[in-house]
Symmetry: C3
Subunit: 399 residues, 3 copies
Amino acid sequence: MDKTLQTYIDKLNALNFKEMYENDFFLTWEKTPEELEAVFTVADALRYMRENNISTKIFESGLGISLFRDNSTRTRFSFASACNLLGLEVQDLDEGKSQVAHGETVRETANMISFMADVIGIRDDMYIGKGNAYMHEVVDAVTEGHKDGILEQKPTLVNLQCDIDHPTQAMADALHLIHYFGGIENLKGKKVAMTWAYSPSYGKPLSVPQGIVGLMTRLGMDVTLAHPEGYEIMSDVEEVAKKNAAESGGSFIKTNSMAEAFKDADVVYPKSWAPFSAMEERTILYGNGDQEGIDRLEKELLAQNANHKDWECTEELMKTTKDGKALYMHCLPADITGVSCEEGEVEASVFDRYRTELYKEASYKPYIIAAMIFLAKEKDPQATLKALEERGIDRFFTK
Amino acid sequence: MDKTLQTYIDKLNALNFKEMYENDFFLTWEKTPEELEAVFTVADALRYMRENNISTKIFESGLGISLFRDNSTRTRFSFASACNLLGLEVQDLDEGKSQVAHGETVRETANMISFMADVIGIRDDMYIGKGNAYMHEVVDAVTEGHKDGILEQKPTLVNLQCDIDHPTQAMADALHLIHYFGGIENLKGKKVAMTWAYSPSYGKPLSVPQGIVGLMTRLGMDVTLAHPEGYEIMSDVEEVAKKNAAESGGSFIKTNSMAEAFKDADVVYPKSWAPFSAMEERTILYGNGDQEGIDRLEKELLAQNANHKDWECTEELMKTTKDGKALYMHCLPADITGVSCEEGEVEASVFDRYRTELYKEASYKPYIIAAMIFLAKEKDPQATLKALEERGIDRFFTK
Amino acid sequence: MDKTLQTYIDKLNALNFKEMYENDFFLTWEKTPEELEAVFTVADALRYMRENNISTKIFESGLGISLFRDNSTRTRFSFASACNLLGLEVQDLDEGKSQVAHGETVRETANMISFMADVIGIRDDMYIGKGNAYMHEVVDAVTEGHKDGILEQKPTLVNLQCDIDHPTQAMADALHLIHYFGGIENLKGKKVAMTWAYSPSYGKPLSVPQGIVGLMTRLGMDVTLAHPEGYEIMSDVEEVAKKNAAESGGSFIKTNSMAEAFKDADVVYPKSWAPFSAMEERTILYGNGDQEGIDRLEKELLAQNANHKDWECTEELMKTTKDGKALYMHCLPADITGVSCEEGEVEASVFDRYRTELYKEASYKPYIIAAMIFLAKEKDPQATLKALEERGIDRFFTK
């Protein structure tokens, strides 16, 4: 480690990210490129400090509320790690065991859980048109609650996955690429294949592919989105990706051929997802309480998936990538053929070769989340980073 | 904020609350008026300090155990906030996932969960004659455990709602009134209408109305308890209210007319509850494992409730209150007509108008709980408050 | 308390426990006698410091992950207490609510939960040949993850109960004996009766009796293992006990008579467990998903148990022990005749007489766990203990 904390501070000094202060993180494409780079830089700075046993606790007390509408090991632990790194205690709002589901308004609950909350992390990715909207409702409620003198602080929202984007995943993925290719400037012109892959399971969220095409196009990458016909993602996000590419000098191409996407790719990201139109239908069926319809839809989708078992990330396909050595990425857990299922997204030997890189990819997420919080809370992040170093409290006390 | 911490310390210096040290909080009427005022004052002082970014962590480590026999978002988060504010980590004893339900004695469990516990918060409000008694059993067990050298400290009990009282709710409500009317002395002679209201749900605990009449009568208020015939509260608590009123110069009146209660009221608290006699019957049926009896009772009670749909807090009724502007209170969540149910406790427009006040009311609870703990743990609270200010650790670190 | 911290430091200075640094705790018999004594000594030192209000927080942030495959109040709270004492926040990996059960590899999960984890505590005692093996898999995974730069630290594993041993229980029990008999040297030659006892429940794990015979034989005690025919423990552990006894100057005897075991015993530990061969069979049935077989086995075992209702720790049997005053031990909860069941492991009057001692026995567990972590993390524990005393941070802040 020949870097020093000053390196990161210098980098931040060259960026404009004033608008992040007292703000929230919903979608990556609502942030400027300099704001995104500020997140990457603070994430690296926090990791540097943790690795050098320098405390980064900016909260001496305070809560980080997690509200998950879907089970999650990875995101839950990443959020808990990020909160702990900054000094917040995690308090889970489990809708199963709370009264939220019983007719309470979002506004009320949002205030009731926020009395000491500096952060609220929400994962709500199951229903189209709902998750992101719900997050905005929560933010509106606590903003008003703070103005009205109910809350001593306005908690910052971190989108831990919604129906549109999965910003903490996409940003962690991007930070992995930045380190892998030796700098954010080196991503320009690199080809990323975000491709659908076969999975025997049903209804995987669209937020990962959407997040990837929405973010990588901003970093000047050549993004190819590949999927079988009928597996379209949200068209709004495709528009975002096109616009991003035009602005960043990258590109955004769609294809129905996995082979075309893999051809000469520097990075491949093969992953299953449900068709957007099916997810929309499911949302309506769910709204109507039509369980029979949901069961029928599930059967149809599984049958539809089974037509595309050839969408697998094989060694053969990997050979066609740039020098046969594209970086394989996944948000995990992957459906590994012959390991976690009979036929899946990726051949076991491919997955095995990239295991260490995959785990490193995941290891950036706690720091990305912590950086989002840090930038929302600190008016002058550079000064605080410097002050934390000067404060010199050990993360681990030893003699 | 033109107050200073010294204002609160001066106020405490004028009060006698020595007996709170190393003691527990079961029922408000077991405390002297000066002790209650000490809780309000410390709650305000802690809020002042948090608002001014002064750390109030008196525990550098230690656990706050929460034991909930009923689901709760609000109380759970309030307890977690209070513990966090003072430096305790919350550890939930979920009887679902623990072995407590499987024949263990209270004494054993109480000791087993208390090795590092400075506080135990219990909510046990479902069965008449059980909740408060259970809390005493727990306190007796840990007091003995501490004497026997098993526990390094005797954890303080905070009653987070029992079958008799809901002291953290009633105290938070009172602190709201103190701020709303500009001082505890201004509560004298104000009329409070604690009235039953219709709800389509069944078996709501009695501890809120009991807590309100038990506490507000001590503050010199004119308390009217209104409910349909057959919805009596615990007669012991009515006796307490009468005695309190006699001593404080307030009054305690019972009526079967909601209109009479609302007439010229300064404060209205319309809320559903189950009849005490029915709750007693349910406790016996439950004890006998008589599920059929419980189901029958539920049906009977819902039918009985439905006879009183006119017990609703309407705009019309609100107009009859003092200047048409009584403060509307509720412990939340409320059954709002046309919002959370077809017909409920309160008209939507009334609820909406008081929303901010309702959330403020709730916001006092974490500070009330923290104050109860602070007063039980600190031998000289004034000196410690002063020392915390002088210590000058920031709650949130920023440059 | 006439001891000082220096007493404990001096004791540690005389012991060799270098190998504990950056190591894990699986089985007591994998540690040297001096290493075990270091654990006892650090546990006592940490308790001394807590009793004298000296902070022992060596972690300013960081997570302690708990992974329980079986419900547990005691062990869960002991682990939480130990983590809190050292400054770690507990994060539960509940396989029910996580994705772990859904085909993820151990390697992946182990890394995903360990980004900020300094400790992982695992309880996995249900299936023969599985629990301890699983713990090793986890340790191998995080060791590799640390080497590969994925994890900033290698979390320390604490075995909170496996199929073979229950080291935190056995060590806490031993520390209780050390204090009860006034020193580790006084355990030599004392007779311990680890005996089976009747319980109306089924399938209690073998790790407690195995842990006791595996540890007490190392401390020079005369260990008698008594059980009805057919209730054999793991033969490997019997071999360990024999070897230990030969080395320590103690003894290890087996008998099918409870009376023989109790005769002149200084310590009795009567407790139910399932026969090893039945546990093995259950593991196979479970692996095959043979629910019918499991149900049949359970019935058979309960019937088999019922043949041995005379295996109860009675007052009569207690009279036959050394001076009629053997120390009664149990890991709790006990099946108490006439209290928690009709016929059980122990007569109520015996249990009652030893209640305080039983709770004290349990009170050592948090300190044993904390000591295991401390010794794994601190390169020079003596220097750090001294530095913590000099740092002089109060555990509880008061004036």
